[in-house]
Amino acid sequence: MSVSKSDAATIQNTEDIVRLRQRVRDLMKNEGFSLVDQTKMVTAASELARNALVYGGGGAVLVEVLKEDNGRTGLRLIFEDHGPGIADIDQALTDGFTTGNGLGLGLGGSKRLTNEFLIDSSPGAGTRITVTRWM
């Protein structure tokens, strides 16, 4: 597997989230992802970026287009923040759990909207979430 395209962006305000959604959509459209795939990934991107902004105090995202040897294409997003981290990941993933004013669906929803979902977080060390959607 190789990374055929990659770029990084900061997540410091809501405009950055709007830009990321557009970036993800454009990239996936160019790679030939279906409208459903695009919409799912754009929505997951929106959720994870907003979490990084709201709970992580801002962060960064790495966008990667992946090519597997068998020709399969994927889009990977790696979100990183240096906020308080998540103490209980299972609890955070539970639908309806929120420490803010949200619906508590963003994290669990993103997991269901993507093919691969990985959380790396510990209190005080920040949070890194990697999601991938394959064509």
Partner: protein, 288 residues
């Protein structure tokens, strides 16, 4: 320093006309010339005006700090040119070149001075360079500010453009949502819908999301809150135009619209509203 400053302003005053002509022909020959955006007459006028102010300010024998009152005129004029150029679509390089290209004609005249030792000449060039660079940086900053203002204004216009609450029928409002909904816009749109419900006393509000690209938890939350508020005001909401990819995404995300009626198309939603209001659409009888 005073000696150096004096010398520079003397040269500027004495050779103003030659410096002006050299500067102008330099600008006209430059690759960053934009005659498509600014005419030669206009460029001549702007350059003349700027140089006049520049020479006058230099007489103050302060060439070190452009933030002093002596330089007010120069700063203001430069700002006004930069703003108008930013609006016209000049690039930052083209903007900075206007001031920076003054260096060459000025330095040529400094070199032609007789009876100046090389130390003084270097000091003079250093002083002039520093001064002109500061003005160039100022114009870049202003350019940036000008562009940001344009973007802000456009965003504002867009906000206003995209919040059209339409009255479809007596008692029926339609809010067509379009594009990516960031939280600022969604908030405004929703508020304008509630206000219209109040103003018109409408019983039914149709929120059409055919043009929406994605519905995430924040957008869903805004919609849910608006529908709850509308209900308190005595109005019912109908959501129409949930496209297949959005419906699928919402199911995975786990958000739903609860008991609120959803219709595939705006036409269906309108038909539903008529039904609820006890209205029927009837084809007039063909006349014989």
């Amino acid at each position: 320093m005073i000696k150096i400053n004096k010398k520079i302003s003397e040269i500027l005053t004495q050779h103003k006309n030659e410096i002006f002509e050299d500067w102008l022909s330099g600008q006209l020959a430059s690759v960053s010339l934009r005659l498509d955006l600014v005419s030669e007459t206009e460029l001549r006028r702007q350059s003349q005006e700027f140089l006049n102010l520049f020479v006058t300010a230099s007489l103050s024998s302060n060439l070190q700090d452009i933030n002093t009152p002596e330089w007010d005129g120069v700063r203001e004029y430069l700002t006004s040119i930069t703003y108008s150029r930013a609006r016209q679509g000049f690039s930052p390089t083209e903007i900075a070149t206007f001031v920076l290209s003054l260096k060459h004609p000025l330095f040529s005249h400094l070199r032609e001075l007789s009876g100046v030792n090389s130390n003084d000449l270097i000091d003079m060039i250093w002083t002039a360079t520093f001064l002109i660079d500061k003005l160039a940086l100022l114009s870049i900053e202003n350019y940036q500010r000008g562009r940001e203002e344009i973007i802000k204004r456009q965003q504002q216009e867009l906000l206003e453009l995209s919040t059209p609450v339409v009255k479809a029928w007596d008692g029926v409002l339609i809010l067509p949502l379009i594009g990516t909904l960031d939280s600022a816009r969604t908030q405004i749109v929703m508020e304008s819908l509630l206000q219209s419900i109040l103003d018109t006393g409408s019983a039914i509000a149709i929120i059409d999301i055919t043009g929406v690209i994605s519905v995430d938890t924040l957008v869903a939350q805004h919609l849910l809150k608006t529908m709850a508020a509308a209900k308190l005001m005595g109005a019912q909401c109908i959501i129409s135009g949930i496209r297949p990819q959005i419906a699928q995404t919402m199911v995975h995300l786990g958000v739903g619209f609860g008991e609120v009626a959803t219709k595939a198309s705006l036409a269906d939603a309108l038909a539903e509203s008529f039904k609820r209001l006890g209205l029927a659409v009837i084809k007039p009888q063909a006349r014989g």
